[in-house]
């Protein structure tokens, strides 16, 4: 801990007795914000606007069809959600999906790949990088169809398993949440890998070298040197991964449509199903708001993790 005391600067320095000077200062600030104004306006219009509208809809019983006028119903939609076993099922599946595919899958695999690539030859590095990033570049819906054909009963994976004389699988039907989690890992690992590659290359070689001189073995070096030094990157990566995974829709929709039954219905799929298939826009948006809350909770945890000092 540093012992230097920093005195806070005075909040505003008054030009003695000059009203005009103050106004000029305000004007200066006004113009200084001009460059970010378009971005702010866009955010307000296309982010805050829809979110506000969504928040309003969540308190109404609006339907897509079969209803002349909608009315305000207060907390009814939320009350309904917490009594709806399908909603609770979707929450559990969302947590499973996020934990499995984002936190365990993408994050760990990304770190592992980045670590291995650091030591690999240039050729291996560029080939691996290119392959992994390809999966990231492919649009979500295309990835969804690719993986659908991969996991399908008569798909690529079973052809390979057959050829190896191994028993075949039908995960899209028997373990759909696992199949979509694998799909999400396949698609999202590149992002983690890139973040960790950047973070690892920032670690000064002297630090790990001196640890080596002090007799720390590989695992100890990773645990005491590498991981603490890239802790902030881990936090950032986890946060971005988690938030992205929480809102995955297209991939799951293309692969399983949330089925069979409800076995892969995560919150975004549940929300779509309620709002558009069942025409319950009000209830669907209430679920969307709850999804937002789940995302916010995760972010809080990660922000907390990042703020702590080493």
């Amino acid at each position: 801990m540093s012992t230097v005391k920093v005195t806070a600067p005075p909040e505003r320095r008054e030009a003695p007795g000059s009203e005009r000077a103050r106004r000029r200062a305000n004007g200066g600030r006004y113009w200084r914000w001009l460059p970010v104004a378009p971005a702010t306006a866009l955010m307000l219009l296309f982010l805050a606007g829809p979110i506000g509208y969504c928040a309003y809809l969540a308190f109404t019983d609006m339907q897509l069809t079969g209803q002349a006028t909608s009315s305000f119903v207060g907390l009814e939609n939320f009350r309904r959600a917490f009594q709806d076993s399908d909603f609770l099922n979707a929450v559990v599946l969302t947590l499973v999906f996020t934990l499995l595919s984002s936190i365990v899958g993408q994050n760990t695999l990304g770190l592992l790949l980045a670590g291995l690539m650091q030591r690999a030859s240039k050729a291996v590095r560029s080939v691996t990088g290119a392959v992994v990033i390809c999966a990231w570049v492919v649009p979500e819906i295309v990835a969804g169809f690719l993986l659908y054909t991969f996991f399908h009963k008569e798909g690529t994976l079973n052809s390979i398993l057959d050829w190896l004389h191994l028993p075949s699988q039908n995960w899209l039907y028997t373990l759909p949440i696992l199949a979509v989690s694998f799909a999400n890992i396949w698609r999202g690992t590149a992002f983690s890998m890139l973040i960790y590659s950047a973070a690892l290359s920032e670690i000064p070689t002297e630090v790990s070298e001196s640890a080596q001189v002090d007799g720390a073995n590989g695992i100890k070096r990773i645990w005491y040197i590498t991981l603490p030094m890239i802790r902030r990157s881990i936090g950032t990566n986890l946060m971005l991964n988690t938030l992205q995974t929480l809102s995955v829709f297209g991939l799951i929709w293309a692969m399983t449509r949330g089925g069979p039954g409800n076995r892969s219905t995560t919150l975004p799929v549940f929300m779509y199903d309620q709002a558009f298939n069942k025409a319950l826009i009000g209830y669907g948006t209430a679920v969307a708001l709850l999804l937002l809350v789940v995302g916010a909770l995760f972010s809080l945890v990660y922000l907390r993790l990042m703020r702590e000092e080493v």
Binding site: T40, L172, G259, N277
Partner: protein
Amino acid sequence: MAEEVLLVRAIVPLTLTVAAALAVGTLTGCGTTDDPDVIEVAFQKDTNNQVTVREDYVEYVAKQFEKAYPGKEVKPVPIQASQDDYYTKIQVMMRSPNTAPDVVYEDSFLIRSDIEAGYLQPLDRYLEDWDDWSEYQDAAKEATQGPNGGTYGVPDGTDTRGLWYNKKIFEKAGLPTDWKPRTWDDVLKTARTIKKRVPEVIPFNVFTGKAAGEAAAMQGFEMLLYGTEDPLYDKQREKWIIGSEGFEDSLRFVESVYSEKLGPPVSEALSPNIQTQVPTEYLPEGKLAIALDGSFLSQQWLKTGGKPWPEWSETMGVTPMPTQHGAAPGKVSMSGGWAWSIPEHSGNPDLAWKLIETMQTPKNAREWYLRGSQISVRDDVSEDPEYQKSLPRTEFFTDLVDVSHYRPALPVYPQVSTAITEAMEQVTTGDSSPREAAAAYDKQVRSITDGAVTKR
């Protein structure tokens, strides 16, 4: 802190101005297609690209229309989606004047719901001056009426449902080719025999689950339920029936089909492609022995269809679906159909009506009945010899009209239908027993209808 407040104070007016400018820009930017000379026609396009039956027909009519009204243009808006997604899409489109088409193809089961939502225009002012309207049968007219008696669509045919079966597979299995099942058990027994004797084919398809949507609810479930003692809705008391034995028995039938592996593999049965797969793949390729399906199935096997199959009329037999225990009248059918409507937000309703009129000249109406394997709802076309002798199965399916049931024509029906498909999916996957699935349905229907239910 004070600094921040100050900044916010500076930002707000600026952003508001920019936001307002942007908003105006976007609104005027996305141009509406309300060109007075262009009629947009929205309809469903099959998920299988080979199937273009409806598109071809719209284009066929569009050509005549453009010739009759020089300078006007018909713009087809085919929506390639499964049926449920199609319904959602047109509802979303019709909500806004910016995206509403001028003519829309409405499923009769959804039309009440969309009328209630204010998406459609009453057509009475046009129908009054249209002589052909008197040719339409009353049942068809009622199907497109709103609660206040106005008419919101012109039906372009109706349909009935029954059992299609492949005579060649029946021969192979040593079964008589003039199949006449009397009860549900007869149907299941036949399917079991086929499974045993011709193991390489799928014995029996009953649509099920959420992905097949209304096809599962109507072709599958209601064809069973209306053969029991318990319908879906009690008309006299105006209440939905829950807790009925018939409902559970119907689910048990679906469960038997899928747990005994008499149906397609469950993962196929629950996929949204199944509805296309049955007529364009399973049946013509001889992979499926019996299909509980609609009269319109043969549209795919005509020259204009997605899978032309000239031999279909010799290979495929038809027989009515029996009631549960053979109770009178001994057979069940359900009827539906589609209609052409004009959305409330159509920018050009008068010209849109002219297009509907063109579609429904006796000749064009007949053309669709033939191409779409529809049952005529117009007396003039029904008497037309060319219509009568056109399709080998028309007589059979037309006769079923007498015993045919209609779905409850109420705005909440589409939601009830979704609840049915969920119950079906639960028993198809084996996640729930028929009793549990029926109980879950009861609970849902109670909530959907605000308690307008009656227990059997």
